[in-house]
Assembly symmetry: C2
Homo-oligomer: 358 residues x 2
C-alpha cells in the first residue's frame, strides 16, 4: 500500500493506493461528523456498494444511485444528490463519498462543493482513469449542452482511496481509456516513465497488478506535484490538458458518452503531436511513436470517421483554456516535454487537422 500526500496547505489530502482498502479502519478516520452520503451509479452499485456501506456502517448513511454515463453529467442529475441529502436532513457537517468513475466523482464532488456551500467528500475511484487522473486535483463539475465541464468548482477531497481490487471488474475498453491518461503523464513530463510504459504496455493491458500499481503511483505523484504547484490552473497545471483540447472537441462532436473520455484523449494526444510536428517541434517519427503507443494501449489514434477540421474549430472555440478568445494548445517540444502554446499559426493548425481527419 502506498500513501501519497497532495500538498495544498490546509487542503492537503492523502491518496491511498493498494488492495483491500474498503475497511472501516481505513475509511472511518477520514469522516467528520456522523452523516454520510454515498453517491454511486447503477453499474458500480451492484459491484462495490455493499463493501463501502459495510466500511461506514458506524455512521448515519444515505445512498444515491445515479444513472450511469457522461450523458447524465448535468445540473438536473445533481438535483438527485441534493434531494437525497436534504430529505435526510444532512447538515453542512456531512461527508459525501464518491464511489465510481470520473463522472460520479465530478458530480459528487461538485454536489459536495455546492451543498450548503460546501461539505467534505471522499473519493473512491473505481476505474483506472479516475484513479490516475480525475480523483486528483479537486476539479469537479458537470457538462452544459454548449460545452463539457463548463459548470463546476475546485473542491479538494478529504481523502482518495484507489483500491486496485476494484479494477478487476473493469472492461478492457475502460482499462485502455485509463491507460491514455497514464501515457499522458509520460508524454507531458517524463521520458523515462514513457519508456517504462512502452515496455509494460502488454502487462498493463493484461491487468498485471504490480504494473498497474506502479502506473497509478507514478501518475498520481506527477499529478499531485503539478496540482501542488498550481492549484487553480493559472500555469503549469494546463499541461495536464495534453490531448484534451482535441479530445473534448471529439466528445462534444459525438455527444458525450459515445467514445470514452480516455479514448478521445488518446486520439487527441496524437493530434497534439501532429500539431507539434507541423510547427517544427517534433519529427514524424515522434508522432508515429505516440500513435504506436496509443494503438498498443488499445486506443484510437484518429478522430471519429466523418469529423472534419471545421468541426474541431467550432468546438475548440469555447475551450476553457482559451484566454480572451485566443486558442491555447498543449504541445510537445519533445516526447516527455510539454508546453502551453497560444500562438499556433492557423496554417499549421489547419494542416494538422487535415492530416489527422483523413
Amino acid at each position: 500500500m502506498h500513501t501519497l500526500t497532495v500538498e495544498l496547505g490546509d487542503r492537503a489530502y492523502p491518496i491511498v493506493i493498494g488492495p483491500e482498502l474498503m475497511t472501516a479502519e481505513r475509511i472511518a478516520p477520514h469522516i467528520h461528523g456522523r452523516q454520510v452520503l454515498v453517491v454511486t451509479n447503477e453499474t458500480v452499485a451492484p459491484l462495490y456498494l455493499s463493501r463501502v456501506l459495510k466500511a461506514v456502517s458506524a455512521f448515519e448513511v444515505a445512498t444515491v444511485v445515479l444513472p450511469d454515463g457522461e450523458a447524465h453529467k448535468h445540473l438536473e442529475t445533481l438535483d438527485l444528490i441534493f434531494s437525497e441529502a436534504l430529505e435526510n436532513r444532512f447538515s453542512r457537517n456531512a461527508t459525501f463519498i464518491a464511489l465510481g468513475g470520473g463522472v460520479v466523482g465530478d458530480m459528487a464532488g461538485f454536489a459536495a462543493a455546492s451543498y450548503q456551500r460546501g461539505v467534505r467528500f471522499l473519493q473512491i475511484p473505481t476505474t483506472l482513469l479516475a484513479q490516475v487522473d480525475s480523483s486528483v486535483g479537486g476539479k469537479t463539475g458537470v457538462n452544459h449542452r454548449l460545452g463539457k465541464n463548463m459548470i463546476g468548482a475546485f473542491h479538494q477531497p478529504t481523502a482518495v482511496f484507489a483500491d486496485t481490487d476494484m479494477l478487476k471488474s473493469l472492461p478492457p475498453r475502460e482499462l485502455s481509456a485509463g491507460l491514455a491518461e497514464v501515457i499522458k503523464y509520460g508524454l507531458l513530463g517524463d521520458h523515462q516513465f514513457l519508456q517504462w510504459i512502452e515496455s509494460k504496455i502488454e502487462a498493463l493491458r493484461a491487468q498485471d497488478s504490480e504494473a498497474l500499481t506502479e502506473a497509478i503511483r507514478q501518475s498520481c505523484t506527477m499529478k499531485a506535484e503539478i496540482v501542488r504547484r498550481d492549484e487553480r490552473e493559472g500555469g503549469v497545471r494546463a499541461l495536464l490538458n495534453l490531448g484534451h483540447t482535441f479530445g473534448h472537441a471529439i466528445e462534444a462532436h459525438l455527444g458525450y458518452g459515445d467514445w470514452l473520455h480516455g479514448e478521445a484523449v488518446g486520439a487527441g494526444m496524437v493530434m497534439a503531436a501532429e500539431v507539434s510536428r507541423q510547427i517544427g517541434a517534433l519529427d514524424a517519427s515522434d508522432v508515429a511513436r505516440v500513435a504506436s503507443l496509443c494503438e498498443s494501449a488499445g486506443l484510437p489514434t484518429k478522430p471519429p470517421a466523418g469529423m472534419t477540421p471545421s468541426d474541431f474549430m467550432t468546438h475548440m472555440a469555447v475551450d476553457k483554456k482559451n484566454v480572451d478568445g485566443r486558442m491555447r494548445f498543449i504541445l510537445l517540444r519533445a516526447l516527455g516535454d510539454a508546453y502551453v502554446d497560444d500562438a499556433v499559426d492557423p496554417q499549421s493548425l489547419s494542416a494538422a487537422l487535415t492530416t489527422c481527419c483523413h
Copy 2:
C-alpha cells in the same frame, strides 16, 4: 463617498458607498479581461441597465435579464446565465456583474463561482437589503424545493458598488425590509448603533440620504469585520443569522416570495428575542423594545397568520446552521450582544413559539 475594504488576504475587496458610482472611471478598473456579462432582472433592467452598460461600454458585453423574484432563485434559472455566457463564448477570464437585489446577487454570484469553475464578479446591489447585507461576505447560492439557500458557494466579489442613487426607486416595503438587516447589526453587536437607529428610524424610512449612507456604512463595516474574522462561517459569522432561523422557516412555510426576506427577518428577530426571554437572558421590556423598533421600521413583528409552532419545527430541522441534527439558534444575552446557542431546552423553545404564534 466611502470605501471600505473587506480584508480577506488575496480575496480582499473594496465596498464603495455613495452617489453617482455608475461611471467607467469607477467601474472599469475593477474589470479584468475584456468580456463582461451583466446579470440583472426584468424590474431593475429598465431602471439602471443602460447606466451600467454605458459604464462598461469599452468591453465586450452581454446581458441576461432574469425573471424577478425569489421564486426563480433555483438551479434552472442559473442555466440562463450559463447559456448566455457560453453562447457568447466567454472564457474563464470574463467578469460577471450582478445588478439587482439579493436574489440577483446570489444567483449571479453562484453562476460566477461555477462558470468554468470560477470567474470574477462585481456586485451592484440595487436594494437597501442587498447593500447592507447580501452583497458583503461572499455567500452565493440558490434555493432548493426542500430548503432555502441549500445550494451555493462562498465566492467573494472583486468589488461592490453600493450606489445610494439607486435607492430612490425602492418601494417603501423593500426599504423596510432592508432596515431589518440594519436593525440586526445593532441588535447583534452594537447597542450604541441600535440607539442611533431608534433615533433615526423616521429619517431612514423617509429616505434621508445622509442617514441611509451612515446606516449602510455602519452595517457594512460590522459585516466586513465579522466576515474577515470568519470567512467560512465556522464561528462568529453565525451571529449574522440573528432572526434568520425563524425567518427562513417563515419564508419556507409561505413559499418564497410572499413575504420579503427582510420582513421574515423582522418577525424572526422578535422571535429570537422571545426565545432569549424564555431562557432568562432578556426581560419582557427588551422584547417589547425589539418589537417596537421593528414596528417603527414598518416590519411585521409576528409570524404570518395560521403558521403554527409545529410548522416552525418542521422547517427549522433542515437549517444549515444545525450541526449533526442539533438545532442552533442565535440568541441575545442583551440588546447589542448576540451569541450562538445549540442547547435551547425544548420547553423554552416551545413556549416561545406558542407565544409568538398567537
